[in-house]
Amino acid sequence: MTDFSRRNFLKAVGIGGAASLASLGCAANGTATASRSARVIVVGGGSGGATAAKYLKRFSPDMDVTLIEPNATYYTCYGSNWVLGGNAEMDDIAQSYDALQSRHGVKVVQDTVMEIDPAGRTVTTSAGEAMNYDRLVMSPGIDFRYDAVPGITEADSERIPHAWKAGEQTRLLRQQLEAMPDGGIFVMVAPGNPFRCPPGPYERASMVAHYFQQEKPRSKIIILDNKEAFSKQGLFMEGWAQHYGDMIEWVASSRGGQVEEIDAANLRTISDGGFTEFKADVLNYIPPQTAGKIAKQTGLAGDGFWCPVNQLTFESTIHPGIYVIGDSSVAGAMPKSGHSANNQAKVAAAAIVRDLAGLEPLAPSTANTCYSLITPDHAISVAAVYAYQDGTIGGVEGAGGVSPMDAPASVRRQEALYTKGWYDGITADIWG
């Protein structure tokens, strides 16, 4: 196939193009060597990184794909609220990298990335090994901004858990809730937008209420919110009233929810210039967030907190050859969720495979689906479908939305079944 005819072909599979894969055969054969010899390193084995590694191999089986992740076991953030509610165990949210290695041919290196050289295209791990890459995928999740509120530091997280990265922090918060006497007060400080898992704080409040109702029915839950509204708010509040009476109190930022200082020693929050205080028996401070440390350190966030990318491909607009996906990236209308990261990983993997073969990126279509449990038998959801338009990822008009209000218990129960189905499905898609 000549260059000219190939260019015409590229036009056909460009945005909105519908050319079939079969017709690609000729072009693919001429360029397959490039992708076969290519080496791609993926940093971070969460929902974004593990998906990217797997789909790079799926799209291009001969590609050399290495995933670098510090932990042998990954605990998903989604599902961690169910552990807090007592209706799941830590083992239920544990994922391993066995299938990625044995089934999909991904090389998994258990180590921490210390340095990335975007110009020299190398990654250096704590073992001191410098690895070369042709393309790099970064999915380092979030880091916390403990400097945002005076009176609390990262070291305090051993007493005041954030539990916003699952694992030891989840266990710690669970232990504190179990040790709390009946009649105690659980105070959660929820961050302003944007942050990982927008409905997460409110599902957490629901699950803790479920636990309290069974074990400590005189206890209270106070959510101090650094914003004026939250995800699926109407549905959450409807469910709280229905199942938990007045156990959960939500405090908007303008009503004293904007925490200005924390007295960490006494588990006390201070707002309204000192006029409003809350004293907690268990304090769950979820700090404001930023792109993962290694992304910031590499300069991928520029002067901001999150990493700007070409939203057609997820390639960094700061360092070419590096693709930033998941919570760390700026992805238009997509929320920072595991489902978003999983979808973005597939777009980035396809863009990398096609780029290495000299082909233009495809018009991506992504989705987000998010279920939240209010009780183990009452779930609500939000869904959206996204398309790339005018340089950014936007929601497709008329699609998506939240579960209906005033729905019968059978609908809530059906969605609770699908909540578990979603977990099983997405974790199989990522790590299975």
Partner: protein
């Protein structure tokens, strides 16, 4: 000799049936990329209690997606998702599903 070659071919065919991407050497196309979005819930790598879509008949998939889209089939969440795709995209996804076993 001939016999063993036939045997080898048989093994190759059965391995291809297990592979996710039948057109192994080709670059990913739009139908394939679109369809990976479905796998997030309807995984092809494991079973959950979501309906399994592997082997779902092409024409049935098109008619059901259209029914979710126009509201004639009620759903809990697929009615919200289906509205996000053009008729052409639905056909592309059904075509791709038709290629995986």
């Amino acid at each position: 000799m001939k016999r063993s070659r036939i045997l080898a071919a048989g093994i190759a065919v059965s391995m291809m049936a297990m592979a996710y991407v039948p057109q192994a050497a080709a670059e990913v196309d739009r139908g394939q990329l679109l369809t990976t979005s479905c796998f997030s819930c309807h995984s092809i790598d494991g079973t959950g209690n979501m309906p399994n879509l592997v082997g779902y008949p092409r024409d049935l998939m098109i008619s059901q997606m259209q029914a979710f889209k126009d509201g004639s089939r009620p759903g809990t969440i697929m009615n919200r998702h289906a509205k996000g795709y053009t008729d052409e995209e639905i056909v592309m996804m059904a075509d791709y599903f038709d290629t995986i076993q």
